[in-house]
Symmetry: C2
Subunit: 245 residues, 2 copies
Amino acid sequence: MDIISGQVVKGMPLVKEGDDLASMIMERFALQDNDLVCIASTIVSKSEGRVRGLARYRPGPVALRLAGRLRSDPRFVQAVLEESREILIETPFLLTVTKFGHVGVNAGIDNSNAGPGRILLLPEDPMASAERIRIAMPEDCAVIVTDTCGRPFRCGVAGVAIGWAGIGAVRDWRGEFDLEGRALAITQEAIVDEIAAMANFLMGEGDDGTPVVIFRGLDYPKEGGRLFRPREMDVIRARLGDHRP
Amino acid sequence: MDIISGQVVKGMPLVKEGDDLASMIMERFALQDNDLVCIASTIVSKSEGRVRGLARYRPGPVALRLAGRLRSDPRFVQAVLEESREILIETPFLLTVTKFGHVGVNAGIDNSNAGPGRILLLPEDPMASAERIRIAMPEDCAVIVTDTCGRPFRCGVAGVAIGWAGIGAVRDWRGEFDLEGRALAITQEAIVDEIAAMANFLMGEGDDGTPVVIFRGLDYPKEGGRLFRPREMDVIRARLGDHRP
């Protein structure tokens, strides 16, 4: 029939450290082979104990300098630095590359969702998180860990994938360019981002309430491709200059 | 039940200038109120006669200069300039702002899909295109005209919306920043992009074959918001510098 379906998993409880997300999902949804399970990074992080008290951070000189310019809490800036391997933009907001390669404001740290004085870091290794959840499911499913990101040129945030397992990041496709402007013969469609975007839409506002979406009927490759653009392939990143602290 | 569905419209014929897309879709799919009809910009452009022969373009001095640096056909570069109101990047590829405000490589012109010596421009006014198609449908549907775009920081292309009608571009949401780094109290989720992304995934490779996807069961606002980021809100665009020809 070529009809695909998407459905939020109802009744997911609040997630805390140590919770088994795969079981929590399977208790509420009858998974089938080939289902694609999209999970908001917030609950993956919570299950992995990635909540931190700001008080534990000791701002170094870089954090103090940046926090002054940003008028931010230096402990929060220190947390961002500790989750990042590179700073792309220092002001008016911190855009960094996380240790696992994702580019996001404040290294994707959520300071609104973990209680006063507490922050929620992204999963340390979202690819491993996705795989861990996937293999805990007896069905042959794929898993995407989603986050929301702003974008240049376009207003608003949209869902993206930060980790995935059992699905390839990309599908071969047409016309991209390398830094020298050469059109690449074989290129890529970022299907995990496209699916994560729709999942984010279905999760709706306050994704803590419905942080899991299951798609059924999708035709996707099981593996292949990369998602985080390498520096040498990123014309716009190259023009942001070098902001290494 | 809160299950959403998505389906490609099968058997769409090749589209030519003057074709009535709404009728072509309705003949092949029983639309219902609230359905969301996603249509690839390629067929919208073709129906609007946006195929051009390269021979009609007379390259001016800017096109000649840029074409030399880009090693491109100066007539193609002239076409890009004529569709653009601003150049953001001159090399190694042309990133421009189209006259209707969308940022894309080569102003979104497709030089692989219209036959030898011919190019396919984006619709002149995709918002108007979407509305025209929408009002030709007796059901109360929404329409999104989709295109694919590369992105900084992330590999591959993904579907985005370039025109929409009967749906708001965004849904209010949390935490963005203005150019001074102030967090905005009310912000936006770019739902038309999120939906367009999934539509693009479902259209699959060679979107001329299945360029229409219908979603059913989505909960979306009927209006509101903007999608193309204004210059004064775009930190990254500001750092690309001024490349006005």
